[in-house]
């Protein structure tokens, strides 16, 4: 075994019950790092791009990175990589907590799950022993209770990943939950688990830390340096611990980029009511941290008589201004319901917002609403429709649980779905922030903020302050951020470290742990390779150039209120610049680009 990989993958066929241990191809691991990169490469090579996402032929890869479980800062990430039933393209949902680290401690770099179980099953892992167990008693049970009951059965030191009722019913907005309130939330990975009748994965490990480091002293030194930079950085040192990601509500509103009422407005006068400041004042018990994380951005809140994981910036916005609501208690409750039913806490509220606009315009009728009209700001609508989307019964409930793109299409008004590649757009108005629009349009998983977080330079001033209103140089910035993010995700490190760290620091960590000798430039080229293999997966899955788009509202409807009034996104300017920077023509890499990146297997495809 060599540094930071246990070189073991478990291939679990749920149809036959066969469990095989496969040797990790170390050269491939180094070429794609691990996590997001290696997971996508495995699925591309195994022909998953062309299968029906909810069929037994789809595969679920639960994969760690080389840094996962190490003693480096914020290194507890794992990813669920699969073909998304929501987008029909690559899904890579990334989560923290402790589950990913424990999978690694148990000695597994990844699990590849195939087929469909004859009846509801869960996977139980204790170090190198893997067994399939009967999960029928957990059907219909909410996610937190499943976590409690499986821990009761297998021991408090077990870590549990599971799907709630939403995943069971193959709801396209279903998330994979782990450690109660952590979610591999986006792109419908929970529905893929449901389609395989896989309810949960329990992991226990004797090992308490990654214990195969190529150069222990070098990693110690790299960790020390990174921790010093992170603790001295205003954001990773104290800002995120104090207010969490929720601190963004007021700043994004302050610049007039907080989408309101399904993006009909971009400034919400009462945003402070659901801001990080108010969350801290009224509900915060303490900050929460994932495995080995000094940042502690999580919010542990008091909710009724319980202490639970609280909302991040995204659900605060989406259940807040995007649905015309400023009641923070309702947001906390709706966010809790997303965790309990196992739902994407971005996709669900954004779809409710789209439904509220369809209701406002008279397309959804009151009589269709089952006694809970979809009125802007209705507290009852937010909580009740979240429950309904987590366990749909009626035609409208099913439609809404399939996301805003399918909902609005069914009503003949796709223009009200604020989505890209059928995935809902996160909480930053790309009319007021030009560069984030490039990322929304081109992210391979559909609209996402965490594939190239242009908010850092365009709003927060990290690493430098760019003018958010202009298009100049944004294409190259977006590409660079996307490439670096591909690296960080694949390492199993949390993206939030990048508020303080850059490519040289990531190279120092990865090289020490794995024994590679990448320069920062080479590392970014690996990121480029990963982004391109994702794109080639999408091409094989049937993606078209017109899928790199933004909703018409962002391109043609100027912002109607607030500081950014009058602005639109100029994607027609930035997208060609972006393709040029990537070496792509018509949304796809040229053969020359593929060869340059060492993706010869994709040439001519």
């Amino acid at each position: 075994m060599s540094g930071a990989y246990y070189e073991k993958i478990a291939r679990i066929n749920l149809t036959t019950g066969e469990i095989k241990t496969e040797q990790l191809d170390l050269d491939l691991a180094h070429k794609f790092i691990g996590g997001r990169g290696l997971g996508t490469k495995i699925l591309y090579d195994e022909g998953v791009a062309t299968v029906d996402p909810l069929s037994p032929e789809n595969k679920l890869v639960y994969i760690t990175g080389p840094m996962t479980g190490s003693n480096s800062p914020s290194s507890g990430r794992y990813m669920v990589v699969t073909k998304s039933p929501l987008t029909g393209m690559i899904a890579c949902a990334n989560s923290g907590g402790i589950w990913g680290a424990k999978l690694k401690f148990a000695g597994w770099d990844a699990l590849i799950v195939e087929g469909v179980a004859p009846d509801w099953t869960y996977i139980n892992i204790v170090d190198d022993k893997i067994e399939l167990l009967d999960a029928r008693e957990y059907l219909g049970v909410l996610s937190e209770e499943i976590d409690d009951r499986l821990k009761e059965k297998h021991g408090a030191d077990a870590s549990v990943l599971n799907i709630g009722p939403a995943g069971e019913k193959q709801v396209l907005l279903a998330a994979v939950m782990n450690d109660k309130d952590r979610a591999a939330g986006r792109s419908g990975t929970g529905a893929v688990m449901g389609s395989k009748k896989l309810k949960a994965i329990v992991v226990k490990a004797t090992r308490k830390q990654l214990d195969i480091i190529a150069d222990v002293e070098a990693l110690k030194e790299a960790n020390k340096n990174c921790l010093k930079i992170m603790s001295g950085n205003a954001l990773t040192g104290e800002g995120l611990r104090a207010l969490g990601t929720a601190s963004l509500v007021n700043i994004i509103n302050g610049i007039g980029a907080l989408p309101t009422k399904n993006w009909q407005e971009s400034y919400c006068p009462t945003a402070d009511e659901f801001s990080g400041e108010t969350l801290a004042e009224k509900y915060l018990v303490k900050p929460g941290a994932c495995y080995h994380c000094p940042i502690a951005c999580g919010r542990i809140i008091k909710h009724d008589d319980k202490v639970i994981g609280g909302p991040e910036y995204e659900p605060l916005w989406a259940y807040g201004s995007d649905c015309g609501n400023d009641d923070l208690y309702t947001i906390n409750e709706a966010n809790r319901l997303c965790n309990e039913y196992g739902l994407d806490a971005i996709g669900v509220p954004c779809t409710i917002a789209a439904a509220m606009e369809l209701y406002q315009r008279g397309y959804i009728k009151e009589e269709d609403c089952g006694g809970v009209p979809l009125e802007w700001g209705s507290k009852e609508a937010l909580t009740e429709w979240t429950k309904r989307m987590g366990d749909p019964q009626t035609e409208l409930e099913w439609l809404m649980s399939s996301g805003s793109a399918r909902l609005c299409e069914a009503y003949g008004h796709p223009e009200y779905s604020m989505s890209v590649k059928k995935q809902e757009i996160p909480a930053y108005d790309a009319r007021a922030i030009q560069g984030i629009g490039i990322n929304y349009a081109t992210a391979n998983c559909g609209a996402a903020h965490v594939r190239g977080y242009m908010i850092a330079p365009e709003v927060v001033g990290i690493p430098v302050q760019l003018d958010r209103t202009v298009t100049e140089e944004k294409a190259v910035w977006a590409k660079t951020f996307q490439d670096l993010t591909s690296v960080i995700d694949s390492m199993g490190t949390c993206l939030f470290t990048s508020f303080a760290l850059g490519a040289p620091e990531y190279a120092s960590l990865l090289n020490a742990a794995t024994g590679t000798a990448w320069t920062p430039e080479e590392l970014l080229e690996i990121g480029d390779r990963i982004f391109n293999i994702e794109r080639m997966f999408n091409k094989a899955a049937g993606m078209k150039p017109e899928d790199d788009r933004l909703p018409k509202r962002l391109l043609e409807e100027p912002i109607s209120n607030g500081p950014s009034k009058g602005m639109v996104n100029k994607l027609s300017v930035t997208l060609p610049q972006y393709y040029e920077a990537r070496g792509w023509v018509n949304a796809f890499p040229t053969d020359e680009t593929l060869k340059k990146l060492g993706l010869d297997e994709c040439v001519g495809k």
């Binding site: 205003a234 954001l235 104290e238 800002g239 995120l240 104090a242 207010l243 969490g244 990601t245 601190s247 963004l248 007021n250 700043i251 302050g254 610049i255 007039g256 402070d272 801001s275 990080g276 400041e277 951005c297 910036y313 995204e314 996160p426 909480a427 930053y428 903020h449 965490v450 977080y453 908010i455 850092a456 709003v459 927060v460 001033g461 990290i462 302050q465 003018d467 958010r468 209103t469 939030f496 508020f499 607030g562 500081p563 950014s564």
Partner: protein
Amino acid sequence: MIEVRLFATLRDGRGKVLQMDPAVISTAGDILQKLEIPAETVAILLINGFHSKPENPVQDGDVVSLFPPVGGG
């Protein structure tokens, strides 16, 4: 009047929203001085929603927002 909006830790002991007399304020930096806010603790300074610097002028009717380091989505 000039409306000054304070966020996160900058609210401590100062409040959320203050009105300041434009007769005694000519730049955003003057506001920081009056409120005894060290410039290095302000990560983001907005005048009417746009990123600005302490030396930028402010006038009657402007909204000035001051944030310590915030971020992360």
